[in-house]
């Protein structure tokens, strides 16, 4: 019986056909390829993308500036008179050209004003454009997106 079964398997190329049946299952399965420029991938929750800063809640303590290992953050405090009532920074610079996306400034911030976003498309022609200031750093609640270099009308992967 066993020998007969083995013989039948040998004659009908059973193992080879079994392999073909297994590979044929993959034809209709969903593909793993990312269609990135056409369809935007869903990034993990803790993606360390471009830094963005909520200027409104920032208290100009300069903890992020001191924590930054690359020295790519520069915070300008307002004058002492103004600082008593309004603690928002006069100017806030982050050079994404040098940023390591290490997240130390995020850990250091006492108010949670600076944090990583999901934005990762920072390929540009002029490196000076990677110097972000007060205008380009925050997430704009009015238009519900970052103010810098955002590609529109790209569907997000389900």
């Amino acid at each position: 019986m066993n020998a007969a079964a083995r013989f039948i398997k040998m004659v009908t190329f059973w193992e080879l056909l079994k392999g073909m049946a297994i590979t044929s299952r993959f034809v209709a399965k969903p593909k793993v390829t990312e269609l990135y420029p056409d369809v935007r991938p869903v990034l993990p929750y803790r993606t360390k993308g471009r830094l963005h800063v909520e200027i409104e809640t920032c208290i100009s303590c300069r903890m992020c500036e001191k924590a930054c290992p690359e020295g790519c953050i520069k915070v300008f405090q307002p004058s002492k008179e103004v600082f008593k009532t309004d603690k928002r920074p006069v100017e806030f610079y982050i050079s994404q050209e040098h940023c390591l996306h290490c997240g130390m400034c995020v850990d250091a911030c006492p108010t949670g004003s600076i944090h990583h976003s999901q934005e990762f498309e920072m390929a540009i022609y002029n490196p000076d454009d990677l110097l972000f200031d007060k205008e380009t750093l925050p997430y704009d609640l009015d238009i519900k997106r970052f103010r810098w270099n955002f590609i529109e009308n790209v569907p997000v992967k389900k």
């Binding site: 073909m20 590979t23 044929s24 993959f26 034809v27 399965k29 969903p30 593909k31 793993v32 390829t33």
Partner: protein, 350 residues
């Protein structure tokens, strides 16, 4: 010589060749695309989908890219042989299409018969087999003239592989010829129609032998030792640009030709399945011809899908296993099958 004679012997055949070669080139080009797409689907990828809709312009882009690349000739090669070697690989595969009969002949109202074939040769299959042996020259000349030992070894491997599989393939074809009683492809299809069975069933062993040796003849996985895209160095290592493209196109033309011949011999060619062709032909000759070409293409596509499927599934054979399969397994099966088919023909299918 008057115009009509020139047209009869030079004009019409040339026009027929052009009409045949345009679809054949298109099919060969898109077979590369189809293989890449389908292979990708087997591997949970998407394949080339960037150039044009569904990546349909990809073959043209590939061709253009290869055409624009530098044509390198190695310093210690034999330049003349190096340059003509791709022609030997390229041309036999395309010439083989000349004898394939694509549909039932078209009869004009004045009673003239136009067969859908460039040259209805009496010894059609023999002609193709002779030509496919010629393509060994392309490989062995490429290996020898490259001036490098690795292509030489690749071409030697390839030559012995092709010799090993030429014999069982020819014997499996002989079985079909024995059943049909003719070497002419249109006669073979007509005999299958008359029998009512495709030769797949009386010649199932011949079909198996043909399939295996066809894969080996066209240097495809699992017998792709001459090239060994992933690790072994093959015979066309030193080729670049358009000359490499000729080998590539020749290989896919070979696959197409083998699919087409296998369809003609074992799957009934342009015979429309489950339909009485003769009755339909008497009623609507044009419709029968068109449907016949479609049926032919569909059956040949089955072969192509099968070839891609096994490429997606099976690993490569070792070299000694390859030759063992050719000489020790396939050759006795083909010979025994020849005797069986002869007896079948003698007693049952008279």
């Amino acid at each position: 010589m008057d115009f009509a004679t020139i047209m009869q012997y030079a004009g019409w055949p040339l026009i027929k060749i052009v009409i045949l070669l345009i679809p054949v080139f298109t099919v060969v080009a898109y077979m590369v695309w189809f293989e890449r797409r389908l292979l990708a689907f087997f591997q949970s990828r998407l394949g080339p989908n960037r150039v044009g809709p569904l990546g349909l312009i990809q073959p043209i882009a590939d061709g253009l890219k290869l055409f624009l690349k530098e044509d390198l000739v190695p310093m210690n090669s034999r330049p003349f042989l190096f340059k003509i070697a791709p022609i030997f690989a390229f041309f036999p595969a395309f010439v083989g299409f000349a004898i394939v009969s694509w549909a039932l002949p078209w009869v004009t109202p004045s009673g003239k018969v136009h067969p859908f074939v460039v040259a209805d040769v009496d010894l059609g299959i023999l002609f193709v087999l002779a030509l496919s042996s010629l393509s060994i020259f392309g490989i062995i000349l490429a290996g020898w003239s490259s001036g490098s030992k690795y292509p030489l070894f690749g071409s030697l491997r390839s030559a012995s592989q092709m010799l090993a599989y030429e014999v069982p393939m020819t014997l499996s074809v002989v079985a079909v010829v024995l059943l049909a009683g003719s070497f002419r492809l249109s006669d073979i299809v007509a005999a299958q129609e008359k029998l009512g069975w495709y030769y797949l069933f009386p010649g199932i062993l011949a079909f198996g032998v043909y399939l295996v040796s066809a894969v080996a003849e066209s240097n495809r996985v699992p017998f792709d030792l001459p090239e060994g895209e992933s690790e072994i160095i093959g015979f066309h290592t030193e080729y670049s640009g358009m000359r490499f493209a000729w080998y590539f196109v020749g290989e896919y033309a070979n696959v197409t030709l083998i699919s087409v011949l296998g369809t003609t011999m074992f799957l009934g060619g342009y015979d429309i399945p489950f339909v009485n062709d003769a009755a339909l032909y008497a009623a609507h000759p044009e419709l029968t011809s068109v449907l016949g070409v479609c049926a032919f293409a569909a059956k040949a596509a089955l072969f192509a899908v099968f070839f891609i499927w096994i490429r997606a599934t099976w690993p490569r054979y070792r070299y000694d296993q390859l030759l063992k399969i050719g000489w020790i397994v396939l050759l006795p099966i083909a010979l025994a099958n020849l005797v069986l088919v002869a007896l079948l023909k003698l007693w049952l299918l008279r």
